[in-house]
Symmetry: C2
Subunit: 167 residues, 2 copies
């Protein structure tokens, strides 16, 4: 049973414990691999975004944020980022967070959701987003330098919310 709730300050240790190995690995997020706790938490839990945690059996096993992807005339499209604790992969945490975000985003007034930089080699994520209606609407050729695979493409992925897909 996975429950998802807004993150509190007291979750910061758990959030950092989830983020740190993912950021250190440097193969899915375009974040400096040496980033420190304070900068990582500022990025993930900043004042202009909502941050959530996914819990099961009393443990925080995942976290995601939601924020406007752009300002001004672009603020009706949100951006989210999701990370599952490595030890909890395969238990449906990412899917639960995705579903939660797809419900929360239109309630927050967003009309669409966009991922700006999905590393093409992150095939598990790409497959999940696709299964939930996201399309690859942009390709940044060799936009990501993968620590093992070298320069690989990054995708812009997008889906409309609560409305027919605009294309």
């Amino acid at each position: 049973m996975i429950t998802i709730r807004s993150a509190k300050r007291s979750d910061h240790d758990a959030i950092w414990a989830i983020l740190e190995p993912v950021f250190r690995a440097g193969d899915t997020y375009a974040i400096d691999a040496g980033i420190g706790r304070a900068d990582a938490l500022a990025y993930w839990c900043g004042p202009d975004q909502e941050t959530f945690v996914a819990e099961a059996d009393g443990a925080v096993l995942g976290t995601y944020y939601m924020r406007p992807n752009q300002r001004g005339g672009g603020r009706h499209v949100c951006n989210c980022g999701y990370v599952t604790a490595r030890a909890a992969q395969g238990r449906g945490i990412a899917r639960a967070m995705l579903e939660h975000s797809l419900g929360a985003a239109p309630r927050a007034g967003f009309r669409a959701m966009q991922y700006n930089f999905v590393v093409s080699t992150n095939s598990r994520a790409v497959a999940l987003w696709r299964a939930y209606g996201f399309r690859i609407v942009g390709v940044i050729a060799q936009g990501f330098r993968h620590p093992e695979q070298g320069y690989v493409d990054a995708y812009v992925m997008y889906r409309a919310l609560n409305a027919p897909d605009p294309e």
Copy 2:
């Protein structure tokens, strides 16, 4: 004769005078139209980016910034933003800044340049970027709410630097 140089703190008044009407209009940049001077200058002249001004006849008539578009594995691609003083449009200021940036970016170690959010109705900018080898590599359907035209598309535009186009 247009000269381009790094911006100094003493240029901030001139930079804000150029940015303010463009941000207030809200039809080309995805920035809150009500943004204040301090936030605008923080956005344009932040510590992780280089900011330049274009001068002619002793007056600052344009400004641009350059920064890594992503961190970590994405930091070899830069992002730039350019604004020309309204009264100086049509004098080649934007083109001069673009050419300057295309020279400066590879010297700074960037392998490609990306614009994340070119409003499709900004046809003058789109035409200029295209003329300099940028391609539309992504379309955000109805990604921008134009103050007069309503929801319009936004483009991701991209070009490689100093190397064959990776596609």
